[in-house]
Every structure is written in structure tokens, then in C-alpha cells.
């Protein structure tokens, strides 16, 4: 599959807007029931609407985030209840059509950057709750973000109608989603709301998710959303339900993995706010997704590596570097990584800085996410802990590593703590460094 077709969607990398609770508007006499509003807000969180419909540093749901697709940039729209700039004039029927079918109030087609193929699985009751909350619980913003302009032929919104004919959509669930049994609820959360497949399922040549490879892993703008099927070698078949719940709640499980980039955002804005019951339902469903073997991963990626045995006393020359020659991978690690991740790679005792061995990102045969984490850093505020690893790219204030230095330290880290030296080159790092988030 051409790499380009995989780069379909991605979440906000740098949306600095931590939106644990959304700004409420004053109560009115004709207010809908508190239960309906609470459910609507919860559905919006589970659907992670804010991730795409808020620009970095912008007002919640006022749109303006630029989403890069192979056909050009899609700019997300204002979905606050402002009548002129937002969706204030939408009836519930209009809202339902755009949410589940990708058809706007004016009849034109939405680009599938909006995951309506997933949201099509939502129940009528949840659509109603979501609509009600957007109309009454979101603060109107009188701003219109820039308009999307795509390349031909995608610039013709009619084309999207044809695309919809070949793309697979979720079948709407019926009944009260709150009463579903565990696996049904989990499936509903995974497929209709959290839209896990949007990133984790590879896409076919038509950019539609390949249903026969559900959650088998895919690239998105430099990051690799890994295989999270139940495969014990390629996926997360060795994780327990509790492991996955902890991951979705905090973004981190010691000895397994941690979230950064788009997944860090998803944890911060969405999954960490789900109820424990929902997290268990979601985890139980994910863990029974049919195993897909992985073309690259042949052993469990979380099981590689061990602590580096360090000598008590440094051997060799105890001298300072008066000549600023390029340092080798071990020295770059020592000077930039060891302070937090330890000379032996074990991380901090409280796991704030994770261990680098027994770490899926380091053990993966694909060094993509490790490179992206070094380039862009990690910033994840979830589960009561604000994790921050600085970026080491050319905008860093802490240390600006060259592409060659990043390649060399990544190769050192995977060789020492992971599945071996993957021979990352400076050119590869340069290419990934260009996949940076764009603000309009």
C-alpha cells in the first residue's frame, strides 16, 4: 500500500487546550433534563469531538484545526451553537444527518476526516443527547475558521458521495446504549464513539478502513498506531483487561507501554474521562478483536530488553569535552536521556519517566514512535499526572539534536533496550521531522 494513503487522519498533536471539563453556559428555564445533558457531554467526550474541532490554543469546539490528508488540508469547522458561525441553526435532524451520514445542513457532503462512518453506529438516544448538549451546554463562539480547499478531485464535495458508497459504515445500534451488556457496550464505545479504527485500522486504496484488518495497525503522519488486535506476537494479546483499562485511564502501564502523540491526546481528552465500567467494557471488547499477525512484529514488543549493567565507576578518561565533536549514541543517551530514564534504562521508581526495556515503543520493530517521541517530546495530562518529556527537535529550548544525533541515539536505545539496532538514518528522521503539526 502506498504510504500516502495511510496518512488519512490524525488527532491534535499540540492542541494545548486541556479540556477536562467544558465551559458551561448559564442555566435557562427551558433547560433540558440534567440527565440528558450529562449523557450528551459524556458522549462528546467519548467521541473526542474536541480533539479535532478545536485549534491549538483556540476556543473549545470553534474549529480551525488543520488536518492533513493526502488530498490536501481539511480545516475543522465551528460546531458551537452560534447561529451564524456554528451549528446553531441545525435541527436535530440536520445534526443527525451530518453526524451519521456526513451530509451537512446545506446538503453538501462532509469530508471523511470527520469520522461519521464510525459515528453512524450511534443510537438515536445518544444522538439526541449529544445534540442537546451541543445546543445547550457548549458556549457559542462567533468565529469562522478558514475554509477547506482540497486538490481535485476531492475538492468536489460530490465525490465524497461516491466515496461513501464504497466506504464501510457502522450499522446504527438500537435501544438504550446505557443498558447494553459489557461486550456490546464495549463494541459500541470502540466502534461508534472512540473510533479506534480511524487510526489503528489500515486503509485500502480508497482510504476506507479495511474491515478484514480491524485494528491491525497503521501509520499516521509519522506516528505508527500499532496493531492492537489480540495477537500475542504482533498485537496486545499479552495484556490483561486491567492493563488496558489502566492504559486508557492514565496513558501508561509500567512494563508495557505509554501513550504519546495522538494517542496521548486521546487518553487526555477522552478515554481518561470514561467511567470504570465503560473502560472495562471497551478493554474487554478490544482484547477479543480477532488476532492479526503483523508483517514486522514477530515477538511481543513489550518483552524486549533488560537493564544495562553499569559499572560503579566510569572507566576511561575523566575529562571534559573541550572539542565539540559529534558524540556517539551512548554519549548522547548519557547526556540527554539518562537523567530521567536512568543510565541503566530503568526509568524513575515512580514510572513518571518510563523504563525503556519492557516497553512496547522501544521493543517495536518499527522505531517510528520512538523517533517521533524524541523529536516532539511527550505532553500528556491524564490520571492526575502531567507527564512532560521535552522535544529534542530544532525548536527545543532544552537541547536541539541534529537528525543524525537523533538517528544515532534511537539506534542506541533500540539496540540496548529493545529489539535491536534498526539502522535509522538521518534522512528518515528528517522526513519524520517534517510531519509536524500545522496550525492554520
Amino acid at each position: 500500500m502506498p504510504d500516502v494513503t495511510r496518512k488519512i487522519l490524525w488527532s491534535v498533536l499540540t492542541a494545548g487546550t486541556a479540556l477536562a471539563t467544558f465551559s458551561a453556559v448559564p442555566a435557562r428555564a427551558d433547560d433540558p433534563s440534567a440527565d440528558l445533558m450529562a449523557r450528551g457531554e459524556y458522549i462528546a467526550t467519548a467521541g473526542d469531538c474536541v480533539a479535532c474541532h478545536t485549534a491549538p490554543g483556540g476556543k473549545p469546539f470553534a474549529g480551525g484545526l488543520k488536518i492533513t490528508t493526502p488530498m490536501g488540508d481539511v480545516v475543522t469547522t465551528n460546531i458551537t451553537p452560534d447561529p451564524d458561525h456554528g451549528i446553531g441553526k441545525y435541527t436535530e435532524e440536520d445534526f443527525e444527518k451530518s453526524l451519521r451520514h456526513g451530509i451537512r445542513r446545506d446538503g453538501s457532503r462532509l469530508y471523511p476526516a470527520m469520522p461519521y462512518v464510525s459515528y453512524s453506529g450511534m443510537t438515536d438516544g445518544d444522538v439526541k443527547a449529544l445534540y442537546t448538549w451541543f445546543m445547550h451546554g457548549v458556549k457559542p463562539v462567533a468565529e469562522t475558521p478558514p475554509v477547506t480547499s482540497l486538490n481535485f478531485p476531492a475538492n468536489l464535495r460530490i465525490t465524497m458521495g461516491l466515496w461513501n458508497m464504497v466506504a464501510t459504515s457502522e450499522t446504527p445500534e438500537t435501544g438504550d446504549s446505557a443498558t447494553f451488556d459489557k461486550l456490546r457496550r464495549g463494541k459500541y464505545l470502540a466502534r461508534a464513539l472512540e473510533h479506534c479504527g480511524t487510526c489503528h485500522t489500515p486503509r485500502n486504496i480508497m482510504l476506507s478502513e479495511k474491515e478484514d484488518s480491524y485494528l491491525a495497525g497503521a501509520s499516521l503522519l509519522g506516528w505508527y498506531a500499532p496493531n492492537i488486535t489480540s495477537s500475542k506476537t504482533g498485537g496486545i494479546g499479552n495484556w490483561s483487561e486491567d492493563n488496558l483499562v489502566e492504559y486508557l485511564k492514565t496513558g501508561h502501564v509500567a512494563g508495557l507501554s505509554q501513550a504519546a502523540g495522538p494517542m496521548g491526546e486521546a487518553v487526555e481528552h477522552s478515554t481518561s474521562h470514561l467511567t470504570d465500567d465503560d473502560l472495562h467494557a471497551l478493554a474487554a471488547y478490544i482484547l477479543q478483536v480477532p488476532a492479526m499477525t503483523d508483517e514486522a512484529e514477530h515477538s511481543p514488543r513489550e518483552q524486549f530488553g533488560k537493564p544495562l549493567e553499569e559499572a560503579d565507576v566510569r572507566s576511561g578518561e575523566l575529562t571534559r569535552i573541550d572539542k565539540l565533536d559529534q558524540m556517539d549514541g551512548a554519549q548522547i543517551y548519557d547526556a540527554n536521556c539518562a537523567a530521567c530514564h536512568g543510565g541503566n534504562g530503568a526509568g524513575t521508581a515512580d514510572h513518571y519517566a518510563p523504563s525503556l526495556f519492557h516497553n512496547s515503543v522501544v521493543g517495536s520493530a518499527r522505531p517510528d514512535d520512538l523517533i517521533m517521541a524524541v523529536l516532539n517530546g511527550v505532553d500528556r495530562n491524564a490520571g492526575g499526572v502531567h507527564v512532560h518529556m521535552p522535544a529534542f527537535n530544532q525548536t527545543s529550548d532544552v537541547e536541539r539534536l541534529s537528525n543524525a544525533e537523533i538517528a544515532s541515539v534511537v539506534n542506541y536505545v533500540t539496540a540496548t533496550f529493545g529489539s535491536g539496532d534498526h539502522g535509522v538514518t538521518a534522512e528518515q528522521v528528517e522526513k519524520m521531522g517534517k510531519e509536524l503539526p500545522k496550525t492554520p
Binding site: A335, A339, C340, M389, D397, V398, R400, L401
Partner: protein, 545 residues
């Protein structure tokens, strides 16, 4: 390096430390063209960290920062040190260290970000000692806050712990958590003495701030914060560059050129490492080259028009050298283990002696309980006591967990006889003389230090201390100030209240060299606030030009 014809800007700044780089950042953001000339090289953090790891002598603050031959700095706090030559009765008490590097000396500070007290600016008026500044605390308050936001300063809620410097805004970040050692020390002081221990305001992150991580307590702020949680001038350099300012490393300014009336500076001249000379013109000039190097440059620029040096009609350039020359002791507590060394180095201060009526006869001071790892000292002590084998290990553990280190910042006083001059015998490879300082500790400071010794003895008694190790004589604090002193009268001062030189209308100085008194708090935040005020003045004047 820019070609000759590029070397002109609205504002030319000499020095890229916290003062120079923050002015450059403010001006560049306002669309003003800026060139910053830095004598030293540009080096990344990772090289300093790797040097620190390789050094055998970890407490050597200068060790990881190799000087280049064309921009030397003192190799360490020792006499003689072959660069900063000190003479006089208290020569050893003036062994200041500093760095000549892109980003400046804040590469190895402890992040202590004190505001001065309102009284510090009015020492003469209130206590009949020393000199007043040509500005008041309230003039600087907004710039103090701007500096705190720029650096990222954490500190206590004034309603809970009032540090005596009135604030209009809370600290940008919450105060640091208190380490175990500091908790024990606080408890002792509050229960057994009339004094108090306060949170030291710190330019370090207690949450992710400015794209830099939270402090993890690596305990080696000096000589180098390994993760960038503590502010240093290199961040302001990066921010200024992103806004369009131009920084030239390895550019050693050696001459300040004026117009024929000697009223305006027209250019500065610098040597590159091969002694090629370059001329840089501008509308305004700021010397922000550290207290010692600033005075050295102004004296070395003497010519026929100004035979005593630039901006020196008063004869005060190089005079009034001050510091927080203090007292230091370490001892072994006979009480419960403290386990120092968890967290940043300097976080807890006894602040009861920062101000009082007694300042009419003796200087103020503050006391740091230093929270540094004591394994090195404990090991030396245990070996000197003759322990071996298993007992040695046990003793190291015991001593390292029971060591207490206290030191003070005692208030210096402006005395024109404490003077920096150009060395007549020592020159660097560019032919520029080394600095030489005559220093005699003012009686005012000596009395303050005696009072501190008394306090330390009381505290040692309270903690049933043994094995006292007093630093002989006095302890230099690397907070030099006063060499281009501020005042209202051009006859006895070098700059006015806006840090503009009395003699040259477009020449400003941004450095602790303008301080008229040194108070007791670490000097960096006041340096930054004064610099931001210089930037504010320049922005207004250039907007009206």
C-alpha cells in the same frame, strides 16, 4: 558570521546572558533589529552535561564549562586563579566565578529568584548607610513580574508566606514541595527559635512550563541542570532568535566608539578569535557583559576623548565592588537523620535578618539551608576518622544522612576603594588585560558576618552538632555588583535610574554592575527586571525616533 555590511542594527547588545538575551527578545518581538555580540562560544547543554558526568570533581561549578582562550573566565574559586586577580586584605573573599558563554552564567546558578525588599533600594534614606538607588521598588515591580514570567518562577502564596516584597500578581508557578531534610529543619526552627524558614522563590518548573519539563530534583542545579527544568539564559537566546534577533558568538568587544562630541556611542568594535577586527554600528548600545567584564570593557576602551574609560567622568567605573560575601559551616547533626540531597540545591531560607532597624550599623543577611547531597563530604570525613570495611560504609551512610550545611548571604556596601582595574601584567591572547580587584570587606559586612556566626553556633547547639567545618575567612557568593553604580548625581555615579549612562545618551548598562546596594537576595531576578526595564525604555524611544 555576518559580513561587514550586515553589522548594523537599531540596538547593539554586548553579552548574551540573562540581561542581554532578554532585552534582545523583547526588542525583536517589537520589530526592532538587534545584534547581540557574545565573547564566548555557543555550546549545547548536552556537552555540559556530558562534561559534568565525566568530571571527577563534581562540586566544581566551573569544571564542565571549558573557557576559550579569547574569552577566558575564572577557572574556579581559587587564589591565584590566573584570570580574575584579587588583592587587598580580603582578596580571597572576592574570588567570583562566572561564565563567558552564549546564555551566560545562569548555566550554573541555583535558580534562586528573589525580589529585593523595598528597603534595599533606600538604604541611605532609611538607615544612613551606603547609597540609595535612583529608582524605587514600585518602579521595578511590574518588571519583576515580567521577569518571573519569562524565567518561570515558582514561589509561595504571599497570603501564606509573605516574603516582604509586595506582589501584584501571584507567582507564575506554585512553590516547590518541601524535601524531607527541609521539613525537619523547618520544624526545628519554628519550634525552637523565634525565626522562620521560607520557600525560596526559584526559577525552576514545578509543572511543565515554556515547553520545558518539571524539576525532578537531580540535585545538581550547579553546575548544570541536566533536563532544562531550571531557567537559563539560553532559552531567552532561542526565543530572541525566533523573533529575529541576531547573535554572534566568539565576538570579543574591545572598544566603544563615540561621536566627536563624545555624547553618543556610534559603534562597538570586536575581535574574532583570530583577532580580526569588526565594527558594529547602531542607534542604541547596551553593555550587558556581567559586572566584572562590563567594567573591564569600559576601562579598556579609554582613549583620548575619555582617558579614564567610557562613561567614566565620575571616576566610578570599576569602583564600589560588592558581593554577598558570607559565612559557611557544615556539621553533623546529633538528632534524627535529615537525608539531604533530595530535590533542588537551595530551597529553604531563614529570612528574619533580611531587614531591621539594626541595619543602621550592620548589614542584613539571609541563611540558606543547603539541600545538597553530602556523600562526598561524608566519605572524606569517615576516611579521615580511620574507618574501614563495613564500618566505613555504615559511617558514610550515617554521616551523609546527618550532615547539615548552612551558608549566608551578607550584605556588602558600596565602597569606592573596592575597585576593579586592568591588570598591568596579565593579558589574554587578544592583548586584552585580565581584571584585577582590590577588596577589603566593609566593617558593615564584617559585623553582619559576626552576627551570622553567632546564629550558626546557636543552630549547631540546637541540633547537637559535632564535626564543625567552617569555611576559613569569608565565603564569596559570585554575586558581584556595583562596578558601574547607579545614582542621581553624575558626579558620583555612572548610570541613572533607567540604567542609561550619564555621559552617553544612547548607552545603557544591563548588569548587576548598576546596583547601588546588594541587599541579601540572589541578584539574578533584579538583573533581569532592570534589563526588561531597559528594553521598555528602548522600545519607547525607538517608537518615537
Amino acid at each position: 558570521m555576518p559580513s561587514e555590511q550586515d553589522l548594523s542594527a537599531d540596538v547593539v547588545i554586548v553579552g548574551s546572558g540573562v540581561a542581554g538575551s532578554s532585552i534582545a527578545n523583547e526588542l525583536a518581538r517589537a520589530g526592532i533589529s538587534v545584534i547581540v555580540l557574545e565573547a564566548g562560544p555557543r555550546v549545547d547543554r548536552q556537552h555540559f552535561v556530558e562534561n559534568f558526568r565525566n568530571l571527577e570533581n563534581k562540586p566544581s561549578y566551573q569544571g564542565p564549562f571549558p573557557a576559550v582562550p579569547w574569552a577566558r573566565h575564572p577557572p574556579d574559586q581559587v587564589t591565584p586563579n590566573d584570570y580574575l586577580h584579587t588583592t587587598g586584605p580580603d582578596a580571597e573573599a572576592y574570588q567570583q566565578v562566572y561564565l563567558r558563554m552564549m546564555g551566560g552564567t545562569t548555566w550554573h546558578w541555583a535558580g534562586c529568584a528573589w525580589r529585593y525588599l523595598p528597603s534595599d533600594f533606600e538604604l541611605k534614606t532609611r538607615y544612613g548607610q551606603g547609597r540609595d538607588w535612583a529608582l524605587k521598588y514600585d518602579d521595578l515591580e511590574p518588571f519583576y513580574y515580567q521577569a518571573e514570567v519569562m524565567m518561570g518562577v515558582c514561589g509561595p502564596d504571599p497570603k501564606v508566606e509573605d516574603l516582604g516584597s509586595p506582589r501584584k500578581q501571584p507567582y507564575p508557578m506554585d512553590a516547590l514541595p518541601i524535601s524531607y531534610a527541609a521539613q525537619q529543619f523547618r520544624k526545628l526552627i519554628s519550634e525552637k527559635t523565634p525565626y522562620r524558614v521560607v520557600h525560596e522563590p526559584q526559577a525552576r518548573n514545578t509543572r511543565p512550563y515554556d515547553s520545558r519539563p518539571t524539576c525532578e530534583g537531580h540535585n545538581n542545579c550547579m553546575p548544570i541542570c541536566p533536563i532544562g527544568a531550571m531557567y537559563n539564559g539560553s532559552y531567552s537566546v532561542y526565543h530572541a532568535e525566533a523573533a529575529g534577533a541576531k547573535f554572534v558568538p566568539n565576538a570579543v568587544v574591545y572598544r566603544i566608539e563615540r561621536d566627536s562630541a563624545n555624547k553618543r556611542v556610534t559603534a562597538v568594535h570586536y575581535y574574532d578569535p583570530d583577532k580580526g577586527s569588526h565594527r558594529v554600528t547602531g542607534k542604541y548600545f547596551v553593555i550587558a557583559a556581567h559586572c566584572i567584564e562590563t567594567a573591564k570593557l569600559m576601562l579598556f576602551s579609554a582613549d583620548e576623548q575619555s582617558p579614564d574609560g567610557i562613561a567614566n567622568s565620575s571616576g566610578h567605573v570599576g569602583r564600589n565592588m560588592m558581593d554577598h560575601t558570607g559565612v559557611q559551616v557544615s556539621f553533623i547533626s546529633g538528632d534524627k537523620a535529615l537525608w539531604p540531597g533530595r530535590g533542588p540545591l537551595e530551597t529553604n531560607v531563614i529570612d528574619n535578618f533580611r531587614d531591621g532597624d539594626w541595619r543602621n550599623e550592620r548589614g542584613a543577611y539571609l541563611v540558606h539551608m543547603v539541600d545538597d547531597n553530602q556523600v562526598d563530604l561524608a566519605t572524606q570525613l569517615a576516611i579521615s576518622k580511620g574507618y574501614v570495611g563495613r564500618e566505613l560504609e555504615e559511617q558514610i551512610r550515617y554521616l551523609a544522612s546527618h550532615t547539615v550545611r548552612l551558608f549566608s548571604h551578607n550584605e556588602g556596601l558600596a565602597d569606592p576603594d573596592n575597585r576593579l582595574t586592568l591588570s598591568k601584567t596579565n593579558k589574554d591572547i587578544l592583548g586584552i588585560p585580565h581584571p584585577e580587584v582590590y577588596y577589603k570587606l566593609p566593617e558593615y559586612t564584617v559585623k553582619s558576618c559576626e552576627h551570622t556566626r553567632g546564629l550558626f553556633r546557636d543552630l549547631i547547639g540546637l541540633m547537637h552538632g559535632t564535626d564543625e567545618e567552617w569555611t576559613p575567612g569569608y565565603f564569596p557568593q559570585d554575586h558581584p555588583a556595583g562596578s558601574t553604580i547607579m545614582g542621581t548625581d553624575p558626579k558620583d555615579s555612572v548610570v541613572d535610574g533607567f540604567c542609561r549612562t550619564h555621559d552617553h545618551e544612547n548607552l545603557f548598562i544591563a548588569s548587576s554592575s548598576v546596583f547601588s546596594s546588594v541587599g541579601t537576595g540572589n541578584i539574578t531576578l533584579t538583573v533581569a527586571a532592570l534589563a526588561l526595564r531597559v528594553a521598555d525604555t528602548l522600545k519607547k524611544e525607538l517608537a518615537h525616533a
